[in-house]
């Protein structure tokens, strides 16, 4: 099963150039297989280490399966499935599908590996395929965004590699357990903190957290629409946030210093992202800044280190992956219908595009934390955890930021979707099935996981939160 998560996308990438006419369908089948394999792993209560010999492979390595990795595998498979459906009507370019398959192989590898060097390699696979996909259309904006992402990612890589070199020199291994043992030894506290700082900076760049977010608005805006969905929906979650959380919680262990670093990064990202989103007139750019802001909320929850905060953070990570995929999908549909993304030149589109308008309203209200949608519960958990852990001021700022979030989404809806329908949009029709179907699926998940949040948390979120609450090591 585990080998399927890595080998199937690579085999698909090799197969696609030989069956170019079927590239889109091959990727759809691949995404379905990856999602099915990930679902079979749910629920995962214990931590399992699968050595190479156990899965019939040569070598001295092992894969790690726990509640957190299972959740991320399910999310990756699901967003891959959504991207595959949306891409059916978008392009038949075979290199696009081959690169997408490589990117999903990279993300699955990143989630499964149990040593920092392999983690670095899969991180690079994910990043390199992302640059390639952003630059694929070869527009001036796309190339500029890919170049910016490439340069900042190279800086991130330098920080991560330097951290790994020093860790390897200190611990003699890069396996998660060995680093955990090093962390437990007070003699190595200085080395540990220095290496962790290097890794956190590198991974914060990959996550697009403030003040390392320079590449995010350009990359999300200039990327082809399905790639924007993948980037905002899952790539930055896996390549940045998952790796950051895995390294801090499961490898180094959360100390008060690490907790404070995560909370500062989270708070600054939440506030700056929301304020910047408020001033945008380009729909995708607004969503990009909103994405930075919501990543900040996730870190705020996790930074508390309390069980409720971790549940809130993980739940918000899940919600944000679903919500941003939905909102970018809606924006793509609007862009295709109107030919641009300028909010000031839109209006009344909801009457012409009822499915897009309704699903966008559900998604944006959930991001803003309106009950009973899923975003409300995750934000509520985060705010309560902040109060309980003795950070009432941070909780108050987070609450105000949530109001700002509601503000910019209302502005988006007022300018683009509601109000008087303009005559020049009389020819605008609802988005095609390949855009409407994934939007309806995603919006349904937003509503269902909000109404049945308790069951949902029991099934997917709590096993993941338990892994992080247990701290470093196994």
């Amino acid at each position: 099963m585990i080998i399927g998560l890595l080998a199937t996308p690579v085999l698909a990438a090799i197969m696609i150039p030989f069956a170019r006419r079927w590239a889109d369908y091959i990727f759809l089948v691949l995404a379905t297989i990856l999602l099915a394999i990930a679902i079979t792993m749910v629920p995962t209560e214990s931590v399992r280490m699968l050595s190479a010999s156990e899965i019939g492979l040569p070598g001295d390595f092992s894969f790690r399966i726990d509640g957190f990795s299972t959740l991320m595998l399910v999310l990756t498979g699901f967003i891959g499935f959504i991207v595959a459906i949306f891409s059916l009507g978008w392009t038949r370019e075979y290199t696009y599908y081959a690169l997408l398959a490589v990117m999903f192989a990279g993300m699955n590898g990143l989630i499964l590996v149990s040593d920092l060097f392999s983690l670095y390699i899969f991180l690079e696979i994910t990043s390199i395929s992302s640059f390639a996909l952003i630059a694929l259309v070869r527009s001036r904006d796309g190339l500029e965004a890919a170049y910016k992402y490439l340069m900042l990612s190279a800086v991130a890589t330098a920080f991560i590699l330097l951290g790994l070199f020093i860790l390897y020199g200190s611990a003699g291994s890069l396996a998660f357990e060995e680093i955990s043992r090093l962390s437990a030894n007070p003699e190595h506290a200085g080395v540990r903190l220095f290496c962790l700082a290097l890794l956190v900076i590198g991974l914060a760049i990959k996550s697009g957290l403030v003040p390392f977010h320079g590449w995010v608005p350009d990359a999300y805006t200039a990327a082809p629409n399905p790639i924007s969905i993948a980037l905002a929906g899952i790539v930055t979650k896996v390549a940045g946030l998952y790796t950051l959380v895995r390294v801090t919680f499961s490898v180094f262990g959360v100390t008060p210093t690490i907790s404070s670093i995560l909370m500062v990064l989270g708070l600054v990202s939440a506030v700056v992202g929301a304020l910047a989103a408020l001033t945008q007139n380009d729909g995708k750019r607004m969503l990009a800044f909103s994405s930075i802001s919501q990543m900040g909320y996730i870190l705020l929850g996790l930074g508390t280190g309390s069980p409720l905060g971790i549940v809130g953070g993980i739940f918000h990570l899940f919600n944000h992956a679903i919500l941003k995929s939905l909102l970018f999908l809606n924006t793509a549909a609007i862009e295709k219908a109107t030919g641009h993304r300028d909010l000031s030149r839109m209006g009344g589109l909801a009457s012409r595009m009822p499915v897009t308008g309704a699903t966008f309203a559900i998604g944006s209200l959930s991001v803003a934390g309106i009950p009973p949608l899923n975003g409300f519960w995750s934000k509520l958990f985060i705010l309560i955890a902040l109060f309980q852990s003795g950070h009432p001021v941070v909780a108050f700022i987070a609450l105000i930021t949530s109001v700002v979030t509601l503000g910019y989404f209302l502005v988006f809806q007022k300018k683009a979707l509601f109000g008087k329908a303009e005559a020049r949009f009389s020819d605008v029709r609802e988005a095609p099935l390949n855009a409407c179907l994934p939007a309806v699926i995603l919006a349904s998940i937003v509503v269902i996981s909000g109404l049945l949040f308790h069951e949902f948390i029991d099934l997917l979120i709590e096993p993941a939160a338990n892994v992080l609450s247990r701290g470093s090591g196994l």
Binding site: L6, V10, G59, F117, I128, R138
Partner: protein
């Protein structure tokens, strides 16, 4: 053995910076990466050595050479950028003059000499640096048997590079 190799790395790296021919520069850089991977292996870090060899010396060189071959002839690019004689940009002209007069290459021996002196001065530090391989396993054993998952990752990275190059070459041809 390691000092001459380090000196060769410095010479190749300096050449990569100073050569006006980008293609030769990329090849020099590949040479630097290949030699560096040998040095890293000697320092007892076979994983990093394998990665350096396959990605930096292999994939990155392919990407550099592909990019260079995609670039339009200099004259055409300059016209498009409005950098003809009537509208010169001081920075390109500076390098252009340097290149025409061969000043860049004339400075090369001086740079190499300075770096050689620095290396010679640092020779006393070498014994304190451990460069015996920390692993008993030979290179091939490390590559094929111990780090199989990384090898899989590297093949995937190379695959990604190939698709990108194919895509851009195809667009260029069309």
């Amino acid at each position: 053995m390691i000092t001459p190799v380090l000196l060769l790395i410095v010479i190749l790296a300096t050449l990569a910076i100073y050569l006006n021919d980008l293609l030769l520069g990329a090849i020099c850089l590949a040479g630097v990466s290949a030699l560096l991977s040998w040095v890293i292996y000697q320092f007892g870090m076979p994983y990093a050595a394998v990665f350096e060899l396959s990605v930096a010396a292999g994939l990155i060189t392919v990407l550099f050479i592909s990019t260079i071959s995609l670039v339009k002839p200099a004259g055409q690019s300059e016209r498009e950028l409005g950098l003809e004689a009537g509208n010169p940009s001081p920075l390109p002209r500076l390098f252009e003059e340097d290149a025409r007069e061969g000043k860049a290459l004339k400075r090369l021996p001086l740079v190499v000499a300075i770096l050689a002196i620095l290396l010679w001065e640092l020779r006393e530090s070498w014994p304190s640096i451990r460069y015996a391989p920390a692993f008993d396993a030979p290179f091939a054993e490390t590559l094929w048997h111990i780090r199989t998952v990384d090898l899989f990752g590297q093949i995937t990275i190379i695959l990604c590079g190939v698709f990108l190059v194919v895509h851009f070459f195809k667009e260029r041809a069309s």
